[in-house]
């Protein structure tokens, strides 16, 4: 698994990649959160000179968490994505999910994200709703760099 993640984030210096292979979920996170937390494909960031990359960042007042999304656009669609997160496993899973979800989407499709869809996909309970909201905020911050008409 580690080799696969290194391939995905090849442009980022990741000197250590965790290997959760074979480990269960002793802390009782939802299965999709645990899966994204332990196998966070698209973790990292694009090299600074990468063209057509847009970033969006958000935090949450409920916990000192920060999520940064980066989308690389080609032909008005997301060609590649990265995320970085400081926060709980749910926050990290939200970043990982959004980076995967965004691939191939147009601006209009990105704008159509519903918070409920994100929460349902990761089975995020009410106590961690702020993590999902942080994900939506990061996406909105990224999309705010585009005029509403540019779809």
């Amino acid at each position: 698994m580690a080799a696969r993640v290194i391939a995905v984030v090849g442009r980022v210096n990741m000197s250590s990649i965790p290997d959760f292979t074979g480990l269960d979920n002793p802390f009782g996170y939802s299965a999709p959160i645990w899966q994204r937390f332990t196998d966070p494909a698209r973790a990292g960031r694009f090299a600074p000179e990468t063209p057509a990359v847009f970033s969006g960042e958000a935090g949450t007042p409920a916990a000192r968490s920060v999520l940064r999304l980066q989308f690389r656009f080609a032909a008005a669609h997301v060609a590649d994505a990265r995320f970085q997160a400081y926060g709980c496993p749910t926050s990290i899973a939200v970043g990982a999910w959004l980076a995967d979800w965004a691939i191939g989407k147009s601006l209009a499709e990105l704008r159509s994200l519903k918070l409920a869809e994100l929460r349902a996909a990761l089975e995020i309970g009410d106590d961690r709703a702020h993590c999902a909201a942080m994900g939506e905020d990061a996406l909105l911050a990224l999309l705010a760099q585009f005029p509403e008409c540019s779809t």
């Binding site: 000197s15 250590s16 269960d24 990292g44 960042e57 997160a85 400081y86 496993p89 990290i92």
Partner: protein, 399 residues
């Protein structure tokens, strides 16, 4: 899984398991130790042997050991019982001195007494703030004494950070002043030499399951000369010299006795070996930049003593819950309260001046008899790998 949570609890020592079996078997020694027949006398004799074993580890007399259900009950009995007994001799409010880094069962007992008083009298409590290194000095305690101070309650070894308070120095100073000293020694017994013949502690709480004995049994040392008097908190048949009623749990008591006898036999070798493994773990973890040892100084070699089995470390740049979750292979305690969005970090680390973030991003490693050097190497490698990973994942981390 690598178990590094021996300060939370320990497995039974095989010697303890064997000692307990005859008292658990259906055809074993099952009679009530209070019964006045041959079977009861046999059980009673075994209980008294165990009492002597517990007393021997701490330099006490067997008659100074009162069986309880564990250190939480011992702490409750010591504090409430002493105040209730001595409270009737004073006409004003009663005063206790303790510290902010005590175990919850001491702090909650003190808060209960503050809220409700005892024997119709108000209770005031001074919660001393330890130094950044986790130390409460004798001078701090003496400066807080008032004419109304009846009791000082301090733990010998802190359960989160391992800092050893200098009880040997404090105890005679309080004895001179006629103030009772209660010490929670749950984390100290079997880890440090304790000699109550030389150290005039009045009341001292013990737990079996921290010392490779069974859960559900503990003891309170109650000094006989000069006599530390208590009012019972559990009323009934007048067991344990009237201080703690309830049928004695023979098998648990035998287990505690065997555990304390083993601890006495192994104390020096255990302390040296376990302390060596703790130092190995700390030296390996220091390959990571920007980590901080909690309790004592950073290199652990200053005059402040740290119990050999404990290492508490905060990691900059990682979030506490993710740190814990990223280490499912390790059984360690975390400073992070993980199940809630409004996580309440360790109050002990907060009292040392750590901010919420650093208190959350902490791990308590506690090492025991079964720990091996290869487990320490593996644990250190895992922690280093996962902390590096979480730091690189963070948009806030600047190496």
């Amino acid at each position: 899984m690598i178990y590094l949570d021996y300060a939370a609890t320990t497995p039974l020592d095989p010697r303890v398991f064997e000692a307990m079996l005859p008292y658990l078997r259906p055809d074993g020694v099952f009679a009530n130790p209070a019964s006045t027949h041959a079977a009861g006398f046999k059980a009673r004799a075994a209980v008294e042997r165990a009492r002597a074993q517990v007393a021997a580890l701490i330099g006490a007399e067997p008659g100074e050991i009162v069986w309880t259900s564990g250190a939480t009950e011992s702490n409750n009995l010591a504090i409430k019982g002493a105040l209730e007994f001595r409270g009737s001799a004073t006409s004003n409010f009663l005063h206790i001195i303790t510290s902010r880094t005590e175990h919850k069962c001491v702090l909650d007992t003190c808060r209960h007494l503050e809220a409700h008083g005892i024997s119709g009298r108000a209770v005031r409590v001074t919660y001393l703030k330890p130094s950044k290194l986790g130390v409460v000095t004798s001078e701090d305690v003496l400066a807080a004494l008032t004419p109304e101070t009846l009791l000082v309650s301090l733990m010998w070894v802190n359960n989160e950070i391992g800092v050893v308070q200098n009880i040997e120095r404090l105890a005679p100073l309080l004895r001179e002043r006629g103030v009772l000293l209660h010490v929670d020694a749950a984390q100290a017994a079997g880890k440090l030499p304790i000699d109550l013949q030389r150290t005039p502690v009045d009341l001292l709480s013990l737990s079996a399951h921290k010392v490779y004995g069974p859960k559900g049994i503990g003891a309170l040392f109650v000094r006989r000369r000069p006599r530390a008097r208590l009012n019972p908190q559990m009323h009934g048949g007048g067991h344990e010299q009237g201080m703690r009623s309830g049928t004695l749990a023979t098998h648990q008591i035998i287990g505690m006795g065997a555990a304390f006898a083993a601890a006495k036999a192994d104390l020096e070798t255990d302390a040296a070996r376990i302390g060596g493994l703790r130092d190995l773990l700390w030296s390996r973890l220091q390959l990571l930049p920007r980590i901080h040892r909690n309790g004592g100084d950073e290199n652990g070699t200053a005059a402040i003593a740290i119990a050999p089995h404990l290492l508490n470390v905060s990691f900059e740049g990682v979030e506490g819950e993710s740190l814990r979750a990223s280490l499912p292979e390790l059984a360690v305690s975390s400073g992070s309260a993980c199940s809630s969005a409004t996580a309440e970090p360790s109050y002990v680390l907060r009292a040392l001046g750590r901010d919420d973030e650093m208190a959350n991003a902490s791990l308590r490693f506690s090492i025991g008899r079964s720990t091996t050097a290869s487990e320490i190497e593996r644990a250190a490698a895992l922690v280093i790998q996962q902390v590096q990973w979480l730091r690189e994942l963070s948009p806030l981390w600047a190496a």
